[in-house]
Amino acid sequence: MSDEPDRDTLIEIYRRTVLINRTDERFRSLLMGGKLAIVYYPVRGQEVLSAAMMTALRPDDYLITTYRGVHDQLAKGLPSKLLWAECAGRVTGTCKGKGGPMHITHPETGVMVTTGVVGSGLPIANGLALASQNKGDGRVTVVCFGDGAANIGAFHEAMNMAQLWKLPVIFLCQNNLYGEHTAFAAHTATASIVDRAQGYGMKGVKTDGNDPVAMYRTARQAVDRARAGEGPTLIEAMTFRMLGHLFGADFSYVPAELTAKGIAEDPVPRFRQQLLDMQVPEADLVAIETKVETEIDEAVEFALASDFPDASEIGIDVYGVERAA
């Protein structure tokens, strides 16, 4: 199939973009209003790259992401109700409330691991891909991580092993210019993370993650390569973290002009305009936006109306069978 997103594909990417965008917005408003009290990592500004990447996948493909993963999880198809219930610590959540936002897991939609440890998803992604390679199930694994994560040892070990074994895995570095409070140039000694791909003999592609067409094209090509058994790809998707590292966190260390630029280039309204320019009727977009708001309304209501897990859950799922003694 072609690498270029057709009109329907772009509209689907937009739907996922809006779902992510409004969900992030809703999380922040509930936190602001005190209706929810959790540690939340905003994804504002990174909606489009996730929506485009996951749209290029099959539903049964695997995803591994991080604490900042709401965009990836929703784009992969994880049901809003289960996400919200888990983030609210309810027994109806994906993980019965035991994992929480940093550990969202939902194998049914391919969300296999969400990790809170920087870089640790990459070696695990190789394992998922190894299983697919041995079973011949044709699945592709995508692992999401940040620019800061590219400086930790696990990144290096995983990249070399993936290329050595030609694993069907895609390393999606979401370069949002900051690792927590540290600017890219203060934590990385080279201009681009993709500069590292050749050191592993791996294909590396740097792309504008905020451009749905470019991002989809890059994703599509990487997915096709992986599925065809041609090995892994490192994608560096350029974006910008429009808010603090976590909700309510200091943002003062980000230069005003950079923030201004980020707002000016906000990918979500840009994408909407792009669709209108393509003569997509605004009514269609409004319909999508309304449907998304309803989905979130229902999910939040479901979550907040759900019970908390029983304390006995502490002793469950530690081992598959009750431990000896």
Binding site: A37, I38, V39, G89, R90, V91, C95, K96, G97, K98, G99, G100, P101, M102, H103, T115, G116, V117, V118, G119, G148, A149, N151, I152, G153, A154, G179, E180, H181, T182, A183, A186, H187, T188, D250, S252, Y253, F308, P309, A311, E313, I314, G315, V318
Partner: protein
């Protein structure tokens, strides 16, 4: 606290840590600090302990690092061997898991393996704690691992003056010290220490005197012990509270003297109870005071599971003051000889 100052001015544990670091850097240009986000360009650190220091002492002495814990601890080990006194920060304790080789195979062993030719005056500060709602990968208390490694010292403060005095002593010490902090304790207020106040490494404090039973605790658990002691005083039970301060190697002399006096002991820590530091302390007490003990030594600790996210589960996971009180009562119900 039996030791320490009693000035009226109060400070927080976070301020105590900042003061100790600031004074150490002012006193000795060989003292440096490194870790993620520790510089003022990064907002002075996630918990602001290092705020202002890079501006005051320069970016060559306060080094904001990439997310590279092996490189952070490794650089600190090398700098220490070469005569600096690094204070390395691991943002959260669960992340020591990527740096254990540098801490255990290197920092802890280089003095011994070099026959004393080199040594590693290194402080590793890290924080953690159950109750923040961080879930399974950001809440663990792993002090038992380090306690099991000869060559390391592990310390934890229960109040601002000790935080100041322990960190200052750790920086001045010629061997590696792991200083564990608790996110939920940073705000705890207490009397400000006199400048120059030091808490000697390896020395516990009698946080409260008592005669019926000894409760041994460290860090945040000391506050639970003190609260329970106060409550039980109302029931006519006299509880002595030992604040270990140095978790390992622990102050056996003080602990054994107290239990020899009371004949009963309960150990409380936030870490998972099974195979925790309480097991070693309990074993040592039984080994040394078997005939004097009126009851088996009790242990109170975290549940045997990863730390759950959901608030009610997280609250149930960690020990409650009721559990501490019950453990004390259990030792009292024993007739003894």
């Amino acid at each position: 606290m039996s030791e320490g100052p009693a000035k009226l001015k109060k400070i927080s544990i976070a301020q105590g840590l900042h003061m100790a670091l600031d004074e150490a850097m002012a006193a000795d240009e060989n003292v440096i600090a490194l870790g993620e986000d520790v510089g003022d360009e990064q907002g002075g650190g996630v918990f602001k302990i290092t705020a202002g220091l890079s501006t005051k002492y320069g970016k060559h002495r306060i080094r904001a690092t990439p997310i590279s814990e092996q490189a952070i601890i490794g650089a600190a080990v090398g700098a220490a061997i070469a005569g600096l006194r690094p204070v390395a920060e691991i943002m959260l304790m669960n992340f020591v898991t990527v740096a254990m080789d540098q801490i255990v195979n290197h920092a802890a062993k280089l003095r011994f393996m070099s026959g004393g030719q080199t040594h590693v005056p290194l402080v590793i500060r890290t924080t953690t704690g159950v109750g923040v709602g961080f879930g399974g990968q950001h809440s663990d208390m792993l002090e038992a691992w380090f306690a099991h490694v000869p060559g390391l010292r592990v310390v934890m403060a229960s109040n601002p003056a000790d935080a100041y005095g322990l960190l200052a002593s750790a920086i001045e010490d010629d061997d590696p010290v792991i200083m564990i902090e608790n996110i939920l304790s940073y705000g705890i207020q207490g009397p400000a220490p006199e400048p120059g106040y030091r808490v000697p490494l390896g020395k516990a404090a009698i946080a409260r005197e008592g005669s019926d039973v000894t409760v041994i605790a460290y860090g945040k658990a000391v506050l639970d012990a003190l609260a329970v002691a106060e409550q039980l005083a109302g029931e006519g039970v006299s509880v002595e509270v030992v604040d270990l301060r140095t978790i390992a190697p622990f102050d056996e002399a003080t602990v054994l003297a107290s239990v020899a006096k009371t004949g009963r002991a309960v150990i409380v820590h936030e870490a998972v109870k099974a195979y925790g530091t309480g097991a070693e302390i309990s074993s040592r007490i039984h080994e040394e005071l078997f005939d004097q003990l009126k009851a088996p030594v009790g242990r109170v600790g975290g549940s045997f599971s990863p730390v759950p996210f959901s608030k009610p589960l997280e609250t149930a996971w960690i020990h409650s003051q009721e559990q501490v009180a019950d453990a004390i009562r259990a030792t009292l119900q024993r007739k003894g000889e």
